[in-house]
């Protein structure tokens, strides 16, 4: 089963990378609002069903893929 994990800076957490990209996009003439930068992790998970895979990937996020102090995550299964 394939899982995609989206890790984002939590709301309210300063994201200087996003700010730098936002200002660069504006300089290029794109009138964008706030830009935020996260990370994508694609995984192949061995699990019997979707619920088990989800639980497994959640544990991965809590233990390693995201730092809960500053990042939130979303998991998509395919």
């Amino acid at each position: 089963m394939r899982a995609t994990v989206l890790v984002r800076p939590k709301e309210g957490i300063l994201d200087p990378q996003g700010q730098a990209v936002e200002s660069s996009l504006r300089q290029l003439g794109f009138p964008v609002g706030e830009a935020r930068i996260g990370r994508v992790v694609d995984l192949e998970v061995e699990a019997t069903d979707a619920a088990a895979a989800l639980a497994e990937v959640e544990r991965m996020c809590e233990q390693l893929l995201a730092n809960p102090l500053i990042e939130s995550y979303e998991i998509e299964l395919a």
Binding site: I13, L14, P16, Q17, A20, L64, L65, N67, L69, I70
Partner: protein, 231 residues
């Protein structure tokens, strides 16, 4: 009676670059400084441990996030849990935060630029094993060199840390966007400290400042006391 030399272990992670400077500085300050490999599961009866600066595991994922899985880090966590003295410098600080041995997290500098210069630091606490040689409120000059030194804790955590007096060092001027200019923190029991500045690069006036020796010699002294009066 001869004064014993405390044994201080410097952990070498792949990608560390300040391990030799840390070893040299500790030896110059009269410690029996030894390297410990990241693959060692036994840290071999040391009186204190230093996690040096560098870019362990290429800073992949997040700085320090992967080093905590090194076999030696399990031994360090056990050593710290028993009250052992642990000092993390720069990447070592990032590793200790990711390992949950210190509070907070080090993020990308607010400016997004790598910062490499001498910075003034104010000592908030002198009653720790890492700052006993400093005077209260003293300003130290010690270099920083990092891209991810922007320490962060949310409001609740920060209030707890202030209440428990876990903030030990602060920058006297803005350096990297760190919350309330925090440069160094201790754990709740005061036996683990992390700081972004590099005391091992400031142990001789020839290097521009010898203020880093105050931090490292505090550690050597505290480790020596543990040799004389084991817990």
């Amino acid at each position: 009676m001869t004064v014993p030399q405390p044994k201080i272990g410097v952990i070498r992670f792949p990608g560390a670059c300040d391990d030799r400077d840390a070893l040299w500085a500790l030896a110059a300050l009269d410690a029996d400084a030894v390297f410990i490999r990241h693959t060692d599961t036994d840290i071999g009866g040391v009186d204190a441990v230093v996690l040096p600066g560098g870019f362990s595991y290429g800073d992949y994922l997040r700085c320090g996030a992967l080093a905590r899985f090194a076999p030696a880090m399990e031994a360090v966590a056990g050593f710290a849990a028993e009250g052992g003295l642990v000092l993390g410098i720069c990447n070592g600080f990032q590793i200790l935060c990711e390992a949950g041995l210190l509070p907070g997290v080090l993020r990308r500098n607010e400016s997004l630029s790598f910062v490499c210069r001498d910075v003034p630091l104010v000592v908030d606490r002198v009653d720790t094993p890492f700052t006993s040689r400093c005077s209260p409120g003293q300003t130290l000059t010690i270099p920083v060199k990092h891209g991810e030194g922007n320490w962060f804790a949310d409001d609740d955590l920060y209030a707890e840390l202030e209440a428990r007096r876990q903030i030990v060092l602060r920058y006297a001027e803005p350096v990297n966007g760190s919350r309330n200019d925090v440069a160094g923190v201790v754990n709740e029991h005061g036996n683990v400290m992390g700081l972004m500045p590099h005391p091992e690069h400031a142990v001789d006036p020839l290097l521009g400042s010898a203020d880093g020796a105050l931090i490292l010699s505090s550690l050597v002294e505290a480790a020596r006391e543990r040799v004389l009066t084991p817990a």
